[in-house]
Symmetry: C2
Subunit: 341 residues, 2 copies
């Protein structure tokens, strides 16, 4: 069992963060509304989760978008799709016990009546509860599996990471370092740049808004891996700094505010061909079979003081509507969570 | 020994196709000049090859370019870098016998004094001599290795191929077909489209200049593999028809006339990410260790009447200066060779 069990009281109603309007690009506070409904009914085979931490994830932008994606768009008028850590308060499912702490698809709301398919991880006392929504949530799993399965850094190789101080990037850097590679970070302000080198094990880091990082990279050996969370002009530059046979992991496209209309950029196919790059798209949910092994590796490093994971926790569900925009604005310091316990 | 030994006479001079001017984009006839020099001297460890077939390859555009590539630009004033099939007329190298027929880096000229590193394949009587500059040259090796190692089509999968009737594309289609996949071809005129379905085993083929191939593809299942020889707008469309986990093999960028200044196009990183594509660059010379196995597979299919390879042979070295442009203009019907034997 987790070591922290929050103490809270709450009216017997289900507060929800509703997607009120289809966002164009990054979801804005006004795209959401808060409402308050009856408690959800629990069908046979389901269980009722009371959420404690709502996870704020860059991927929610894609989930809320009307554009083609790897999942159907979040319906308007329903609770925002989101991951959360919660406790089971009622169960009609033999495989789930009341009192269990779970991480999964519980939505941005107080309560969710869901089935087994909604569970991503079951929490244990190995780490604090909030970590299941970050270090051992999709952020840590993405960093570990995206880098090890698609980036495949070898000892001594140079690994560039964008959003290097973020919830995914800060772990990509540390995973790379723990594997013997040399991570180089790009971040959007000087505090984050400092965190990269002081806290997250980066060999070097640059403020991409103010430093000529491309010139700095050009002075060193070429890049073997680029773990890309942003796309756009930074990607275009990084491609042209890759070594032959380099791997690009496309994990996010945060730098592009809207895909409607489709933005343009320099054609990159010649770089891919002449440098023999391998440019792969990563979505963590393709790798469910590897979650347990990845979690164990992360916990082992955490226990061995080889991993730091920062959290930025806002108290109260009223912080949810503005949270995705704040994330894209780079305001968070560590994994953004909403504590509603 | 090959079954055909050409009968020829030639003055004891070395005619050469010189790169006279640095091309911008596709090399034009005026970028070349013909000259005539002393016979090259053969140093210890070298051997003298008299060329019989000069190979005309799309890759020569890149070799002649001043831009960064996988090889240094061809020096101005020297013979154009090119592959050829020739016969050894003098040897000061223990591993090479006079009378041997070889395929390799012998340049666009009558004679080359070279060392072992210049050899790509040694010809045998298994197939006719010209095939070593095409089917068993970089074209066939590229088709076989690019498709099997990077495209990895599974039985029943849909494989789109651009320049589908070309020296590489016509083989990609047939390799895909022989592996049980369903090749779909794009070609630039109706004769080539007909050759795709009538000669090269394509399940379907479209004239990309006149047919709404994108709409036709949209009616069927998505694509699992795109073997791309052209880049540009066709690539942009194809990416948006890929199945999740689809593989793109970037083998050429023939549709872009010049990379100076860099052309622009729609940003593709979101497609890569959301569809979890794997987009890889292919250069055949990375795969030398696999040439023997690939050649054997191609010869087996040829012997089993499961492979057709067409050649378009121009007689006389005077055809060389215009040959690369003609190739990019789509004028050839099958593998373009210059017979100078």
């Amino acid at each position: 069992m987790p070591t922290e069990i929050p103490n809270y009281s709450r009216p017997n109603r289900n507060r929800r963060v509703i997607l009120a309007r289809r966002p164009n690009g990054i979801p804005q506070p006004a795209d959401f509304a808060l409402d308050d409904t009856e408690m959800p009914a629990v069908a046979e085979g389901e269980f009722l989760v009371r959420n404690i931490y709502l996870s704020v994830d860059p991927a929610q932008r894609g989930w809320a978008s009307a554009e083609a994606n790897y999942s159907a768009p979040v319906p308007l008028g329903g609770p925002m799709r989101g991951l959360a850590v919660g406790v089971v308060v009622q169960s009609r499912c033999a495989e789930v016990a009341e009192g269990e702490f779970l991480y999964g698809w519980f939505g941005w709301q107080d309560y969710a009546a869901v089935g087994l398919a909604a569970i991503i991880q079951r929490a244990t006392a190995a780490v604090k509860l909030s970590a299941y929504a970050g270090l051992l949530g999709i952020n840590g799993l993405t960093a570990y599996l995206g880098l090890t399965k698609l980036g495949r850094p070898q000892p001594g190789e140079r690994v560039l990471v964008s959003t290097a101080a973020g919830s995914v990037g800060s772990l990509v850097g540390q995973v790379a370092r723990n594997l013997g590679a040399m991570p180089i970070g790009l971040a959007g302000d000087d505090d984050k740049v400092e965190a990269c080198t002081e806290r997250y094990g980066y060999a070097a880091a640059y403020n991409y808004k103010t430093a000529d990082w491309d010139a700095a990279l050009a002075e060193g050996p070429p890049l073997d891996v680029y773990f890309d969370n942003v796309g756009g002009p930074i990607l275009d530059c990084a491609l042209r700094r890759m070594a032959p046979g380099g791997r690009i992991v496309q994990c996010g496209t945060a730098s592009t505010a809207s895909w409607t209309p489709p933005p343009t950029g320099p054609r990159n196919e010649r770089e891919i061909m002449t440098r023999r790059l391998v440019w792969s798209g990563f979505v963590v949910f393709d790798h469910v079979a590897d979650f347990a092994a990845a979690s164990q590796a992360l916990v082992d490093w955490l226990d061995g003081d080889r991993l730091t994971f920062d959290e930025d926790i806002a108290p109260g569900i009223e912080h949810a509507p503005g949270a995705i925009k704040a994330l894209y604005d780079g305001e968070n310091r560590g994994k953004k969570l909403i504590f509603i316990g």
